[in-house]
Amino acid sequence: MDKRKVICLAAVIAIVFFSLLALLLTGNIKNGNTACIYSGGKLVKTIDLSTAENQTFTISGEDGGRNTIEIKDGTIGVINADCPDKICVHTAYISDGVQPIVCVPNRLVIRIEASRQENSHVD
């Protein structure tokens, strides 16, 4: 193998290595299931369900609405809310997200996103 071929091969390996590094650093390679919690259209919390410990916490919306959220065994759900219809509480816990959990009165959305997409918007 002459010197020029070795340099070419090294260049290709370097390109592949740095491309992989760039994709890893920018989160473009899919990782675990991440629960994204939006309140009033803003992303207020992200939780990696594959590593998160069981816990409960409360999200307060801009209009004062409150939803108490539980992480349990790699799933996420709403256990209490001050909204009138309680549809968010009646929705089963999610982990891999065909449907999001939505509280319309409190403008809360919990969505599972395998990899974060920058061109996804919640208003």
Partner: protein, 338 residues
């Protein structure tokens, strides 16, 4: 020019190193919003429009907000509220959109012999769906409102576009029809805007436009409060609506009462159907018939299907058994655990 919406997240550095980025999946444009007392998510895969997809979606949401202002039962300034207040005393002038919707609803009520009834506003109010401070309605009060077929007491004047009530004591509730009609309008809007491949999830009701990368859409069909699908339905252009009482209900003295009222009893429907999904070429029909079939039960649904064949269904019975109409059986794949 046909445009595909790629992920904006692709880093510039990786773009330069094209050897690997060629492997990155195309990402559609997605946008979600609250409207119509529910949550909507647009996913646009292809468009021939010069307008950016965010502009198209924003225009669509504006249109839905405007329609909701007309049709809401809880908004005191809506057309529905005006009908309740005035339509018995004098004809109420309404927009072409609302006129067509309410007239179509009357046709569907007649077609389903009242299983779909859009004049149950007073019964819904008594049950207190959507509020957390009600109490179980009195049996006698419900019996008084049951089996009235009040849609027969609505008259229309095509020339003046006015609606009148010929009896008192009822109000319109378009909860089982408005979302489907809104999806019809959305379908026209998006197609006119140049969208050629998209799926819209409108609080669980689905609109599909075109195909996804040349293949049919695989839509998950759910039947309860969980997001575990009972199966997937392969469809091209069309509308899918699901009716069940899993998430929207009130609880009095520890008993759950879901929101789909049987017009003949004024109580939550108890027909043996746990959940009903309807696929049709028309949004209003899919929405109204999913409610009608849920009220009718399996046997009457099968008879209706044989007679009219205007929509396909997937029914989950109370015991978990799945029933699909013959026109859709080949396109539905039940889940392994379903």
């Amino acid at each position: 020019m046909k445009r595909k919406y790629l992920s904006a997240a692709l880093p510039a550095a990786a773009l330069c190193l094209s050897a690997l980025t060629a492997c990155t999946d195309d990402q559609p444009y997605t946008k979600s919003a609250f409207t119509f007392d529910t949550f909507i998510t647009f996913t646009i895969y292809e468009s021939e429009s010069a307008d950016p997809p965010e502009e198209i979606c924003e225009g669509a949401v504006d249109m839905l907000n405007s329609l909701d202002g007309e049709l809401s039962r809880t908004n005191p300034d809506s057309v529905i509220s005006a009908l309740k207040k005035q339509a018995y005393n004098s004809p109420v002038s309404v927009s072409d959109t609302t006129y067509l919707l309410i007239k179509s609803c009357k046709d569907l009520s007649e077609l389903t012999d009242g299983a779909f009834d859009f004049t149950l506003g007073e019964i819904s109010s008594l049950w207190g769906f959507g509020s957390d401070n009600g109490k179980k309605p009195d049996d006698a009060a419900l019996a008084e409102l049951a089996d009235r077929k009040n849609y027969e007491n609505i008259s229309f004047d095509d020339e003046s576009r006015t609606i009148s009530f010929t009896e008192e004591g009822f109000s319109v509730d378009l909860g089982a029809a408005a979302k489907g009609y809104a999806l019809d309008m959305l379908d026209s809007y998006l197609r006119k805007a140049g969208v050629t491949s998209a799926v819209v999830d409108f609080g669980g009701s689905i609109l599909t436009i075109g195909k996804k990368d040349g293949y049919s859409w695989n839509i998950s069909v759910t039947a309860d409060e969980s997001d575990s699908p009972v199966g997937t339905l392969a469809v091209n252009d069309g509308f899918i609506a699901t009716s069940n009482g899993a998430k929207r209900f009130v609880e009095y003295d520890g008993v759950k009462y879901h929101h789909i009222i049987d017009p003949f009893t004024a109580y939550p429907a108890d027909s043996g159907i746990k959940s009903c999904t309807v696929y049709a070429a028309d949004g209003l029909i899919s929405d109204a018939l999913s409610t009608a079939f849920f009220v009718m039960g399996q046997e009457k649904t099968e008879q209706f299907y044989e007679k009219y064949k205007i929509a396909e269904y997937i029914i989950t019975l109370d015991d978990g058994t799945l029933k699909t109409s013959e026109g859709i059986a080949a396109d539905f794949r039940a889940s392994q655990n379903g």
